[in-house]
Symmetry: none
Subunit: 225 residues, 4 copies
């Protein structure tokens, strides 16, 4: 979940275009509080009362600004994605090859985690808790789109000959999972940069197309789907 490749920065834009400024500010503030609480106690324990208490407002405010607890959670997701996009995009834009992109993606993702550990932890907790909620939620689709996007880049690398002939979906998913692992590391308060460097080296080694020795160490490159 922590992978953020694109962000539309506040969905619902246009749903009620005439958002008063104060209303918007209030909403953002509440979303920040929700993020903190979720990061600290998990999604299930992040009750509206707890979030309201953190914000120093009454319970009703939440249901006033957000029709639903669900909508609040959606805004949490949107906010973190927005932040993620802001953080990642500059680094990614300057890359020129798939390999560079991959390394930059890993590196700036971890940097993002280090810069906003609570935000990302909250997002992670939200996705981890979604098995408990309604099966289809806003963020999930975004999530899928991300996997697709990373997949496209890996595929492009293979086409260019930069990457070896791995299954793109497996690799994309594994990268995502590896970054989740980095998140746990960072959230635990341990140094981010070395972890990022290790991951970069790991996936560089895992993807690069050094002439594979004959003898086929492992079978099957069939589409695992």
């Amino acid at each position: 979940m922590p992978m953020v490749l694109e962000g539309d920065g506040g969905r619902d834009r246009g749903e009620s275009e005439r958002e008063t400024f104060i209303r918007g500010a209030r909403r953002r503030q509440l979303v920040e509080c929700a993020i903190e609480v979720i990061a600290e106690v998990g999604l299930a324990r992040a009750s509206t009362v707890r979030i309201a208490r953190r914000a120093g407002v009454s319970r009703g405010v939440l249901t006033y600004h957000f029709r639903d607890r669900g909508e609040l959670i959606d805004q949490v997701i949107a906010r973190v994605y927005e932040l993620g996009a802001e953080t990642l995009e500059p680094s990614l834009r300057v890359t020129t090859t798939p390999r560079e992109f991959l390394l930059a993606f890993i590196g700036s993702s971890v940097e993002f985690y280090a810069a906003y550990p609570r935000h990302v932890a909250a997002l992670h907790a939200v996705f981890a808790g979604f098995e408990d909620d309604a099966p289809t939620r806003g963020g999930d689709r975004r999530h899928i789109r991300e996997l697709d996007r990373l997949g496209e880049l890996l595929f492009e690398g293979q086409t260019r000959g930069e990457f070896r002939d791995f299954n793109v979906d497996v690799m994309a998913r594994t990268i995502r999972q590896a970054l989740d692992g980095a998140l746990a590391h960072v959230v635990a308060g341990r140094p981010a940069q070395p972890y990022a460097a290790e991951l970069q080296a790991l996936f560089d080694a895992a993807t690069r197309s050094a002439a594979p020795p004959s003898g086929e160490p492992h079978e099957a490159h069939d589409d695992p789907d």
Copy 2:
């Protein structure tokens, strides 16, 4: 969490209440039901009433056989670890080098997921939900031990020269995360074997030391010392 390297097979066995055979059978049956429900709806939504309904018994039966919801969950953890140990051990015992061990570990882990997708999904859900529950749970320590164990093997591989000079903790954590990804894939009903093969290739590439002698990528070179 899906990594299972060791299992003590039924914790608390004989703790002052001798296990009647029938009692043991009932408990196992209830644990299986709990596993199914947790796998389907997640830990938080796996209420005692839902589990009891699944088992076709009254709610009280659960608190009769398990002092606590917590104890039931503990038994779920124990059961899956037990199964995992049974499944993995044979494959792992016959390995002779760290690399073989690594590949076998990945391969038979995914096999395990394919054989017991619901069980492993339940275990995964349990650990995912633990951030919300009491911080220290029985299975958690087991978990740590696993990471240590895998780390030791990776280190041994580096010592023998089979593996390159990566950070052992990062690699171990990443492997674990990658297997979690495999679990999601398998639970979604997609073929396990090709996914396993891809992961083996991925981590083989990610771990192997420089260019091994051609023709023999890096076959078991049992330290002749």
Copy 3:
């Protein structure tokens, strides 16, 4: 409640005259366990499971020997009254005047508490908890009879001129309450004999018919009923 003037020693005699000896022994043992548990944790928390555990038997045994939890409690009451009668009667029989009787009654009651603090505490807890149970319980009536009995003796003392002209019911009730206070003192582990001596002096002073000074310190000796 701790006042015990008469005991019929095991009511229900004749209800099932052919009580096997073993059955009777079992029942007595269970009653003793119930007494201990009630004395320790109070009536409300003295659940059948706790009592059974204390006795080292299964829960079913209780409902086997006693149709009801209520019947078990009744037996507890009966047992303590029985003990009380055994303890008090010798002391009381040798008295020859109402004043002697009163002092002996107070003294041997407190001795009884000191000899069987847990039993008496259990009885006390049972009566304290009865407001929660069915309003009319076996022991209650016995209780009333006791008050009557003490009242008769006080009245006899007044007739003989040994006692002053107090209201008999009020005095009887107050003596009973004072003994309850002694029970709390004894159960708390503090020395019984001095407390008894003080109570004897107190009620000796309160009842004796020294020529009351004119001037009427207090009005109304009307029947307070």
Copy 4:
């Protein structure tokens, strides 16, 4: 427990949540309902649902206004102590000697019981039920303070020569118990005043020193020192 010598009138007032007027009124109303229910069925059977039903509100209202059932009970205790202090203080303030104080204390205590029989019965039930609940409760300490206070007065009476040389703790405890007996009498619907007069006479007789000068039983002899 029915002895009320001092009351701080509403504990916890202003504890971080300022008492809205309406909120305060609601709370008081609910406390009154709780008092009625407890007086009628005892503490153990005074479930939240019963209290809510009595108040004509939903169960949730209770946990909305009182974090806990325990807090509600605490408020019951506080309320009755508050009432007791209001009732007793005027009578006690005008006394000038320990003996007067003792008689006024007994008299106005019973008056209090007669004025608020249900309230006092509830308090009594609460304390009777506390052996089953958490051992240390708010009101308990207040209780101890009362015994101490009465003890001090008795001691002062001995020092002045008004009272004979009894053990102060035993006498204080016995007075308290005697008042409990009066409560039972009053709650049963029988006339309070004659009972009070009897108790006054009883403890006057029980405490007074030797034979006081005839004609003036023992009128206030303010220590002229």
